[in-house]
Structures are given as C-alpha cells and as structure tokens.
C-alpha cells in the first residue's frame, strides 16, 4: 500500500468511526483530509550560520520582481550587537540588500554609531521573512478575500482582487507586508510558491552559501527541516501573539522580536 493510500484510508476510517460515535455530527472525510494534508511548508533559519552577506535579499528581490532600489523588501537581515553592559544596538540598512560591510551601525536619524570590539558581548545576524502563520492575522482582517492561506500553508495575495486598503499591512505583527510600488497591491513573501510547488528551492535558500535558510515539509518525518523542528530546540518570533508562526529559528535570543 502506498503511503498516500494509507493516509487516505486511515482518514476515512477515523471519519467513519467518529460518525458512529457521535451519530448526530456529520463528518465529511474531505474535511478531515483538508485538516490534515500531507504537505505543510515550514522554514528553518539558523542564526549561527548567517554571515550577513545579504545575498538572500538580493536574490529574493530579483526573483520576485521587487525593485532593487525601492525601500521595501520581502525578506531582510537584521544585525544585533549586544554590549557587555546589556545595551542592544541593532540595524538593517536597506534590509541588508548590499550586505553588512561596515562596523558602523545605521541608527537612522541619530546617524552612524560605532561600538568598540572590546565592548561587544554578542553580535549576530537574524534573517526575517513572512512566518506563514497557522492562524494568520493578515488574512483575517482582509475585507475582500484577497489574501488567503493555501492547503499547504502558504499565505498568498491575490493581486487581481486586492483593493490596496492596507489593513493586512497594519495587522501583521511582524511587519513583513508592504505596498508594492509597481503593482499597487499588498505584497509579501510567498515562500517562492512558484518554485517550491514545482520541485524547486526558495530563491533565498538557494542563494544562501551557508545553509542558514531552509524550506521543508513539516508533515514529512524524514524531511531535514521537520526533523530539526521536532528534535531540536527551536524558537519562533512573538509566540505570545498566538499566530503560530511556521518559520523556526535556531539560536534565537530574547533580544530578537
């Protein structure tokens, strides 16, 4: 018996069994299958491996036609410098499109800031992207059904249907959504849905020379990403919001939100 058939039969059996148990409640096997499909995309970020080269950001922008010079991006990399006295200094110039090439930290209005090596306790990079949450806030607030989640977990935007009201951009607790300067609709990371659905890798994961970014199927027990998520200490961003993010981080500090 194939794995697929086995899953199907099990789902049918469970559905059948529950009907007899709660004779009044009708259970559609289709619904059971939909609630437990065999594919759920998830993403793993290893912050130890990230070197802040920003090649992922560049690849993402080119792959997804986001203008390079526009100050919006679907993915970005943040730099955290934690001083011995506990102060946290952070920056992400242009979302790290051109990488981190200087010790100076870009503090926007207050200018550039240098932290002496001897004062640094920890310093590292954190790549960010859409978390493709299990309960996405952005989808709930859309008044026209233009943003939605697919059965395999990707949160997408229907460009023909989006009216550009901006509720989703305000609603996202992670700030991953923005207004597309050319399409004039809300835009965000799609997990490179066009690549992963056709057997490929995301542009950012493929571009990363150090394996800091990986995409995988969380429902497949033999998938390297699923194995790490199940078997190692991983964290998610802003767990307290109850959005159930599906981007998992190795080596997450409490200073990172």
């Amino acid at each position: 018996m194939k794995r697929r058939d086995f899953m199907k039969n099990t789902a049918m059996f469970v559905a059948g069994a529950s009907v007899s148990l709660s004779a009044l409640e009708l259970i559609d096997p289709q619904e059971v299958l939909a609630a437990n499909p065999e594919l759920r995309w998830g993403f793993l970020v290893d912050t130890h491996k990230c070197v802040g080269c920003g090649l992922c950001v560049k690849a993402c922008k080119i792959e997804n036609d986001i203008p390079l010079e526009a100050n919006v991006t679907r993915t970005w990399v943040e730099r955290y410098v934690i001083k011995k006295d506990g102060e946290v200094v952070m920056d992400s110039p242009k979302g790290a499109l051109n990488g981190y090439t200087s010790k100076l930290l870009d503090q926007n209005k207050s200018g550039m800031r240098e932290v002496a090596d001897k004062d640094i306790a920890q310093a590292f990079f954190v790549p960010k992207l859409c978390n493709h949450c299990e309960t996405p806030v952005c989808v709930q607030v859309c008044p026209v059904g233009a943003t939605y989640q697919t059965a395999d977990g990707a949160v997408l935007v229907d460009r023909k249907w989006c009216i550009g009201c901006g509720y989703c951009i305000m609603g996202c607790p992670y700030g991953v959504r923005f207004f597309h300067p050319i399409e004039h609709v809300a835009d965000k990371c799609t997990f490179c849905y066009h690549r992963i659905s056709n057997g490929g890798n995301t542009a950012c994961a493929q571009a990363c020379p150090f394996g800091a970014r990986k995409i995988g199927n969380l429902r497949d027990p033999n998938d390297p990403v699923a194995k790490t998520v199940m078997g190692q200490r991983v964290g998610v961003l802003r767990d307290e919001y109850g959005t159930k993010p599906q981007v998992f981080y190795i080596g997450l500090n409490k200073e990172v939100h």
Partner: protein
Amino acid sequence: MKKHVWRPLYVVLGLIGCILVFRMFYIPDDFGTHDRGYTFGYHRLSNEQEWKEYPAKYKGTEYCKDCHSEKVESVAGSQHAMISCENCHGAAFGHPEEPAKLTIDRSRDLCIRCHSALYMPTSGRNDIPGIDPAQHNVDSECSECHNPHNPSLEDM
C-alpha cells in the same frame, strides 16, 4: 397605505437586486471558502495556480554545468564552493539566448559582503577571513589579484 410610502422600498429592493445581479457576473465561480475554511481560505482558487506559474529567474548551479563545466569544476574544488554562480553573475533567466552573456560583477562591493572584517563573535561571520576594505589594496578590483573562482592564496 399611500403609494409614496412604498416607493422608496421598491427603490431599495431594486438596488439590492442590481447588486445581486452584478455580483453574480463579477465574482468568479471559483471564489469561495476552500481548504482552510472561511476564516483563512476565502479566496479565488485559480489565484493559487497563477502564483505557481510565476516565472522563476534563478536556475541554480546545476544549470551552468553543461556549458561552463570548467568554471563549475574550478569553483566546486575551491574555498568558494558554497557560493552559487548566480550570486555573483545574476539570475540566469533566459541565458544564453537572451541575454547572451551574464553580468560579470567585478566590484569590490560584491566581495566585501563577506570579507569586510566585522567583529561578530556569535555568528559565522567571524570564521570568514576578513580584510579592512579601506586599507586592503584600495585602488584595484579584488579580481585583479584574487581568482574569484579559486581564491586560494597559495595559487595566487
């Protein structure tokens, strides 16, 4: 009751009728509640297919093998083995038909993305040999002295 009391009601009913007819034609058949239920899955189903058909730009290093095997082998055996060609040459979408040549980025900016020495004690950045771009042979492009496809200092 008098007629003028009913009239506004007919207008309202007519308007609702118009909206319903408009809706029938405007909203596509595949729009509705799908796999993720009403809260998360209310959408136009064919949009999923539209996203799947979005053209991919990056081809991956495997693709270059057929025509630039020498380069691919050289890079694969070097300290730069983990960097995919398209990171330095741009996405290969359409190449070699259109564009016939990919860009060759000789800028120092490309190399210092990784090689500018930063003090990042709890990240992989600290393990990469670093230089100070403001000090290290400032007037020349890096590739004038270093081979980007095999940067070993011994082979210089």
